[in-house]
Every structure is written in structure tokens, then in C-alpha cells.
Symmetry: none
Subunit: 195 residues, 4 copies
Amino acid sequence: MGEKSVQKKQYILDTARKVFVEKGFKNVTMKDIVEACEISRGGLYLYFDSTEQILLEILQMEAQETDDVFTEHISEEDTAADILTLFLKEQKKELLQKKNNLTVAVYEYFFAHESTDKNNMLRRQFDAGVRVLEKLIQAGIASGEFYCEDPKGAATNIMYVLEGMKINAQTFGITEKMVDEQLLYIMQGLIVEFD
Amino acid sequence: MGEKSVQKKQYILDTARKVFVEKGFKNVTMKDIVEACEISRGGLYLYFDSTEQILLEILQMEAQETDDVFTEHISEEDTAADILTLFLKEQKKELLQKKNNLTVAVYEYFFAHESTDKNNMLRRQFDAGVRVLEKLIQAGIASGEFYCEDPKGAATNIMYVLEGMKINAQTFGITEKMVDEQLLYIMQGLIVEFD
Amino acid sequence: MGEKSVQKKQYILDTARKVFVEKGFKNVTMKDIVEACEISRGGLYLYFDSTEQILLEILQMEAQETDDVFTEHISEEDTAADILTLFLKEQKKELLQKKNNLTVAVYEYFFAHESTDKNNMLRRQFDAGVRVLEKLIQAGIASGEFYCEDPKGAATNIMYVLEGMKINAQTFGITEKMVDEQLLYIMQGLIVEFD
Amino acid sequence: MGEKSVQKKQYILDTARKVFVEKGFKNVTMKDIVEACEISRGGLYLYFDSTEQILLEILQMEAQETDDVFTEHISEEDTAADILTLFLKEQKKELLQKKNNLTVAVYEYFFAHESTDKNNMLRRQFDAGVRVLEKLIQAGIASGEFYCEDPKGAATNIMYVLEGMKINAQTFGITEKMVDEQLLYIMQGLIVEFD
DNA sequence: CATGAATGAGAGTTCATTCAT
DNA sequence: GATGAATGAACTCTCATTCAT
């Protein structure tokens, strides 16, 4: 391919992202992306061979950015409870935002590609989430903020709940109230003397 | 449509179910179903207009059957903890069975049809699950088996976790050990003096 | 495929034959054939998957017919020299007829498919030709019409010459005079006391 | 075109030749040649407008070189039979060498271009071959080596046979034994008291 | 001279859907 | 009711050719 214009490639990725957000993965054709980008048919093939490849590159970008956001916040904040709250608030925001949301595209893609890169993406993110939460809970225990007999179990529980909420949000919708109630339930299970 | 042969319609639904299990929803074409059923193209259209309609009718059948199974077990069993354990065991079995599993087809369908029948199906099942679990937990509290300050929160938590596990099972796989650990975590949170 | 309409299949083969005669093999697209047949794009795919398959089926038809013509004439005629003359006359006619001629298509096809069915078609025809000619020459020798020390060599020589003429006819044209001269040369080499 | 770099043009011709040898004529695209040459798309168009033009220029080169080889040998050798044998040996070598062989490309090209330059190339080579052979045979007759009542017919016969063998070699393969047998047959027809 | 990104026409192929039998 | 041939829209992908740099 050569490098072509990095800018144009980025432009295609950004534009295609919107298409995936709007239509999921399986409904998106190369033609859709060509039209959204207002480039020629052949032009798109200069940069990408398939919708699959495009989505994967978008996800790589996202992963990068997410990591950055993560670390920023963690380093800036104070108590474990604060960080956890912030983390959950972030997740809540993502959950509830209908638009700008690749969830459906990602699930559709990974439904159809269980065997290949699966481990590399969704699982890694899930596992990373568990690890972060576990450390956070342990830190909270150490500082006397949290009480928890099974930090890893609690961390995994939170990740499953978030996953479950995410899928519900996309299939039958979820209200802010429902999310808040469940997040409150989780925090109550952790925090000592929570009222 | 007239009445046509109820048997043939049922035959088509049963056969199409296997196709959806194997290929999800979006990958299934009317042609696929025609071929699986070994009937004529026109013949299928006599009974159904689209893959969508076929899947919905399959899901209606399923819902019926699931309800039956539910109530059977509940009426037969004894303590709340036993029933809950049984319920979770059932869910675990479903989670881990790769085959005979419509999960992917259902999610794919509802991703693409948020607005329409969503409330009627997935949400109803989710809400029904929460209600059953809540009652179970309250019964357990009454009998002294369980301790829980927020039965509804706990019930909802369990349903989200199951949902999260289900999706993970389909996207990057999940092991029996992982399921067991999380179910254990949940039971420990409920049962008084659990060891 | 089922059998569909045998008539329509035959119609497609007949129509496609004209296209191959006109344009050779590599220049013919499925679209060309669709248009020549005045059927729908999908309609053609109901019967054939590729131009290759179509050409091969045409050639099978031809082979059949050619065999028939061959045997007819041989059984009807008298002396070896007469039969040989008739055979060569037939070949000459084919050589010179620009139209209704699949030669180019056949060569183009077999240039691109050396390994596969080659033996089954061109070689078989060539070998069959050699065999027929050899027997003819031997019969001529027995009857005192011909003189030849190496009937097989002579037969092979004739077939190579015909092949060479055929290719020349298609690449830079050949005149009737040129063909006649060479056929005369061949007959003179065989016939005793030829003037 | 201006003069550009003669070296680069020659480089392109040499590289393109390999491509034609490998893929024939109709399968070769400008893209193929660009990639084989590792030059830019636009760069190729600076020198050539089409694959057709490239092949023609390659053939012009070849023609030149072939002539040279021809005359060399003829001038160096002694008896007519020796020269003829040498000539046939040379042809045999070409026939049997699968690689480094433009035959298919040339035929494919001239199949598609009957009307244009045909006379200028293939026919000229064929006619030249006939003329050389005829003179050779006449020389052989004069020296008492050969016996032949129709030198031109014999010369033409040989050229047709070579042409026929060439095409067979490319379509269904030909063995060295088959070539030897036919060449032997030809020599036996010419040489006086050949055993 | 040379590059290579960009365009757009066109070929292959698949299916939902219809309709005469 | 049932069949399956037929249609045509829609998609994927590839190249010849151009043109700004």
C-alpha cells in the first residue's frame, strides 16, 4: 500500500466510525463507507480491504485512547472510593450514550469471529478491567475505605454487571435510574458504613 | 395466509432454529432456510415473509417452553437456597452449551430492532428473572437462610451478571471455572455463615 | 441445480457458442453471454457458473457431433484414397471457414488450462485423428493404392500439418491455394504413381 | 515520447518479457508489469501505452536476435543435411523448453489482432522459414544428399509441422520422443538411402 | 522525468421476491 | 397449496488511465 496519506486514512477511519456507530457491523458495506467518505470505490480499497479490517483498526485506535484516559485519571485522584466512583461514572456515561457508541458493531463483529483475534481485544479489555478494579479494591481495603473478603470476585462481578448493562442498553434500553441503582448496590457492598 | 399445514409450519420453525443456532441471525438468508428445509423457495414464502418473522416465531415458542420449565422446578423444590442454586445451575448449563444456543441470533436480531418488539421479549424475560430472584431472596431472608439488605438490588445484580457472562461466552468464551467462581461469589454474598 | 429447462440450457449453449466464435475465450464475460441470450444476470448463473464451464459443455457437444459425422462418412465410402481425400476436404473446409469456428476460443482456453482436462479433449482428438489416418493409410497400402514405409509417421505428419494450418489460419490467415498445395504435397507422398 | 532513458525502456521490455512468458498475453495487465518492474504506474505510461505495444516491441527485439542466430549458423556449417539437422535441433529445443517461451503470449496476441500487424510478424517469420528450408533442400538435392520432387512443398510441410508441434506443446504437452519421431520421419523423406 | 493517489467503469456473484404452472 | 425458474438490485473487487506534485 505504501503509506499514502496518513491524514486520509485517519479521515476514513473517523468517517467509517460514524457509519459503524449508526449501523452496527454486519449492515455496513464498503459502499456505505465509500459514500460516507465521499471518495471513489477504488479509493477506499487503496487503504482497506474489508469492513472487517476497518473496524479492527478503529478498535485499535479506541483501545489506545481508552488506556490514556484510564491512566490519567488514576494518577490524578485520591482515595480508592473516589477513583472507583469515577470509573463507574465513566462507564455509566458510555452505557447511556446511545450515539457515538460502537458497542453493537463490536459485538456483531466478535459474534462472527470467535476464534481469531477475540482474545486480543474484548478479553484483554475485560481482563484489564478486572485487574484495575481488583487493585483498586485492595487499595481501598488497605486504607480502610472498603471491606471485602474476595476482591477478585468483587472486581469480576462489577465487570460482568457492566457487560450485562451494556448489552441490555443496546437491546432493550436502560434508564439512568436503573444504572444508578445497580451502581449504588455495588458500592454499598464494598463501602464500610455506607449510608 | 389461511391455515395451511400447521405441521409444515412447525417443521420449518424447528429446522430454521438449527440454522439460526449455527449461523446467528444476520448471516441467515431465506435461501439458507429453504435449503435446510428442503422445500421450495416459493413454499417458504407461503408461511413466512422474512427471516425476521421466522426468528420471532421461534422465540415465541421458546418463551412458552421456558416458562413451563421454570414453574415446574420452583414448585417441586424446598429451601430458597436450593431453588436459587438450581436456578443458577440451569443458567450455567445454558451459558456453557455452545450448541443449541440461540443467544447470538437473538442479540443480533435485537441489535437491529431496538425500537420494535424489544420490550416484548428480552426485557420481559429479564424483568421476569429479576422478579423471580427477588422473591426467592426474600423467601430466603424470611427463612433465615439469606441475609440481604437490598433484595431487589441483589436480584438485579445476578441478572446483569448472567447477562454479562452470556455475552462473554459468545464473544471470547468463558470457562466453567470462571462461571463457578462468580456464582460462588454471589452465593457467599447472600448466605449467612457460608463456608 | 436440478435440471431446469433442458431447452433453455441448450439455447444458452447455442447462443454462447456464437459469442465464443466471435470473441474467443478470454474476451468473453458472463455479461456478454447474458446479453447475447437476452436473459437476466441471475438467470445465467442458474445454469452455469463460469464462461469456462460453458465452453467445456459446448466442446462436449461438438465432440459428440464430430464423432457422428466421422463414422458416417467412413462407413459410406469406398477406397482408402477416397476416404482420405474426403477427410482432408472436410478439414480444409473447417480451416477456411472464418466464421462458426471455435478454434481461437479452444486454443485460448487450453493455453490457460494446460494441467487439467487437457488430456481429455485436445489430445484425445489429436490421437484419434492419428489413429484414423494410420488405419486409412494401412488400408491403402494393403489395397495397393498407397505406398508408405511409416504409416504412423505419415499419419502424425498429417495431423501436425493440419494443426499448423489451423493455427496459421487464425493468426495470419491462410488461402485456399496454400491449403490445396500442401494437401496435394501430402497425397503425392502417399499415392503410387500420382500425377 | 522524447528520448527518455533508453536503458530504462530496455529494462522494462526485459522485465515485461518475463511476465508475458509466465502469464501469456491476455492475463497480463499494466499493473502486472508495473509491479514486476517496480516502477510507478505513471512511469510505465511514459514509455508505453498498453500491454499490446509492449509485447510488439518485445517481438521486434526477438525477431532481430533470431535473424542473427540464423545467419550465423548457416554461414558456419557445411552440408545441407547438417544444416537442416541443426535447424531442426534448434526448433526442437525451443519446442520443448516450457520456460522462457513467448509462444502462448504471441498466439494470444495474434488471435486478438488478426487484421493489424499480423502480416508483419508471424507470417514474415513463417515465410522466411519456408524460404530458408527450400533453399536448403535445393542445395541438398544439388549436392546429392537429398531427393525431393517438390522442395517448396517439403519446406512448407516442415514449417506446418513445426507450427503444429509448437501449439500442441502449449496445449497438451509434447514429449521429446514424439518430436524426435516426427523429425526422423521428415528426414527419412528427404535423405537418399537413409537408414 | 517520475511518482503514486485517485477515479470510475465494469466484471463477478448472490439473493429476496415474484409468478406461471 | 407447492414448485422452482426467472428477474434485477446490490455488493465486492480490480484495473486502465489521469493528474497534481
